[in-house]
Symmetry: C2
Subunit: 458 residues, 2 copies
């Protein structure tokens, strides 16, 4: 019997040298992204004005199973990776559960989250192509911080459009992004046509990721040498984030363990898609059959209550169309929703897998999420981000089911990051002013009515 | 030649099972703590009303070289330790220095600093003795957070007196301490006689660690089943923090490395004393002779400009007297000083070693400290705490000297924690409003004039 330590770190030699592309093992691929002008599948060339070439290639490459991680990116990874696989002994004890709970902790870097895994790759390819600046959006701020860090490393100027309500809830995100020389603009702003149009319609909007994407894309395509980068949803992001799952699987193998249940929080799908990648591979190839559970906020429930349909990736309706579970690109989550996980859609890869029955999804209210976060912090000496705490909530619920049934299941969840920039939300939970928001069916029907009409398709 | 990874983690089996007590190897011991009423050396029993018994014993035990770490404490350590020893490859490259720079990173836990190493030990001994509550003070908030975390783990109610200006600069410290069920009171407060007396003298005082200690001690000695715990200065704290140095030395040995220079930031001395412990042992026993450098703020320069004299450990003059480098227990650093390292005195052990020539000390202005912090963050993907950044500043300065001289020295410094709660200070540095404050000789002479008179001694 292998002795299982609290924390297992792979050595540098054991770190993955290739990312894993889940699409190469999917018999049924996600439907292709469509050009919004022609409704034809987009080509790599179509994407060049928005993405740098290598990333456009990765976005559409459904074939290559393993993609070499550039050595420069591997070197950067070594500054904060491998991340630990942690056995939650104390949490198990506190829950009095026979379940074995493991989590992969991605918070050990300045950005405080897994987002750096893709940020450094995207900045690297942009630099290699000779681009001179980048734009992006950020919701809760983790992605913006990670990309600012990556861009600072490569001396690439960066403009970050941050969802306005997060910008206001999290004053210190501005300071940390500025520490890494990033320019940060609350979105919607008057600096773009898209932003001005959204503001004209609703001057008091709290913003959404969809709005911020519109602005960032517009800035990129109208600025010489500039491209847009995105921290979630895209196939390329899931590819880079596969490093989380690959490390997790190898570490569990070293412990003679394999998860019965893999749980990840899901906004656009960057962490979930990365964490589950090699386990989903096992499922797709018939090697094993773990349960895979996406956890999303009840206030922004794209998988559990959205439509599987073609939609724009942004609110301003300038991006290509992707078939995904979506609440409609005009959907803006309540300002009472804390943290990230506020995107209207879900990664097309994950949407397809969910649609085809390879994955489950649950939604949870934020007060239950923060209850789990505080409980976890007290047991495990890590202050979890609100996003990550969705996965904690579901992991605790599964462990409690094991207590009822007496089954010693092995649970693996992704702890994507830390909550140091979310203390306002913690405060509102602790002082009892936090509220839950669940959109009504009428709210959703209204948003669905705005889904794009595509001749012959929807 | 050993291949040196970016990060070296010891395994759980390699973690220290004993703390190291530096006093056991000092030929000349620090002068004894004195009872302020009798001017006689304090006994263990004298300390029982303030400290729990085991800690009172550790405080006065100059003999026992190695002290067993209780198994329960070892188990808690395993949740966040061993901490990594990191080779700062990127920093070296950015500085174009032949120096090899290593740092021991203690920020990987909720409290965001090394303070948890002693907090959990102190809470453990208190619980074991059957105490029912604890009090403490905190400056920048790291210690208060760590102790709240430890007390929550042992279900011990905790009251934290937090230096008022830090309380106001860092609103989110309150939230995180409350997450761990700690009660937090800005100091000086009207809840104690000591606080009321200080407020009467100066109603607008920004507070000091010395004031907060007075209040916490008063609350402890006037509450049944309650004791006081302190996160720095004390011998017991240096004992617990020796885990930092022991891990560092073992990890360096595994790499066939030994530091030419060991650098630590110094406020009360908790991190410095812990980091240097086994290296100072080598020095005291003639095994080797590394340079050991304490780095303190120019705004609170106890080693570089203080007097080596008996002084109170608190502003309210209720604690025992300790012989240490001190600015006078009435000294209150300027409110413009960000972060911790604001204590008027220095650990008696470190004071003695410095007095006897075993250690160097430098002081640095905070704008130079933040310059180093931002530079470091961009190279190493860690956002350092202001306190830790004092050590970074000195390490960079030493590495730049190596660039001049061409010498490939091996530098080890302590990176005590993260700066996520210090974004106001980062902002003020980034927007150019941060100022430096250096007390005048007249300021200091005035504070020295208040040093206690002790018949036959001073």
């Amino acid at each position: 019997m292998t002795k299982i330590p609290h924390r297992l770190y792979l050595t540098e030699d054991q770190m993955p040298k290739q990312w894993y592309n889940l699409r190469a093992d999917m018999k049924d691929l996600p439907d292709p992204m469509l050009n919004p002008a022609t409704f034809k599948p987009v080509t790599e060339e179509d994407l060049y004005p928005v993405f740098c070439r290598e990333l456009a290639h990765q976005e559409l490459d459904n074939e290559t199973r393993y993609v070499d991680i550039p050595e420069e990116v591997q070197d950067f990874y070594k500054m904060y990776r491998p991340s630990p696989l942690i056995r939650a002994y104390n949490l198990e004890k506190a829950l009095d559960t026979p379940a074995k709970i493991y989590y992969k902790y991605e918070g050990n870097n300045t950005s405080g989250s897994h987002k750096l895994n893709s940020a450094i790759a995207q900045a690297y390819y942009a630099k290699k192509q000779g681009l001179t600046s980048l734009t992006t959006e950020t919701g809760a701020g983790q992605w913006g911080t990670a990309l600012a860090e990556a861009c600072s490393y490569y001396h690439l100027p960066l403009t970050v459009y941050m969802v306005k309500c997060s910008y206001e809830q999290k004053p210190f995100r501005k300071a940390i992004i500025q520490t890494f020389d990033g320019e940060i603009i609350p979105s919607p702003s008057s600096t773009t046509n898209a932003g001005r149009a959204i503001l004209e319609k609703d001057p008091n909007t709290s913003g959404s990721l969809g709005c911020a994407i519109s602005e960032a894309v517009e800035k990129a395509v109208t600025t010489e040498g500039c491209r847009y980068v995105l921290g979630s949803v895209l196939n390329q992001v899931l590819l880079h984030q596969s490093v989380i799952g690959l490390e997790s699987k190898m570490a569990m193998e070293m412990l003679d363990e394999y998860p019965d249940i893999v749980i990840g929080c899901a906004g656009g799908g960057s962490n979930l898609g990365g964490l589950i990648a090699p386990f989903m591979q096992d499922k797709l190839t018939g090697k094993s059959n773990p349960r895979i559970v996406a956890v999303e906020p009840a206030s922004c429930p794209s998988l559990t209550r959205g439509r599987y349909a073609y939609d724009f990736c942004d609110t301003g309706r300038v991006t290509p169309l992707a078939r995904m579970y979506t609440l409609g690109c005009g959907f803006i989550p309540s300002a009472s929703h804390a943290g990230g996980l506020r995107y209207h859609g879900m990664s097309p890869i994950l949407s397809k897998l969910y649609h085809d029955g390879y994955m489950e999804a649950v939604s949870v209210e934020q007060t239950r999420v923060f209850e789990a976060a505080v409980f976890f912090a007290k047991q495990e000496t890590i202050l979890p981000a609100p996003e990550s705490s969705h996965a904690i909530r579901a992991a605790i619920d599964e462990a409690l089911k094991c207590r009822e049934s007496g089954e010693a299941r092995t649970i693996l969840f992704g702890l994507t990051g830390t909550g140091y920039f979310d203390m306002n939300a913690y405060s509102s939970y602790l002082n009892g002013t936090m509220t839950d928001f669940i959109p009504t069916d009428e709210d959703l029907e209204k948003a669905f009515a705005e889904l794009p009409k595509i001749p012959g398709i929807q």
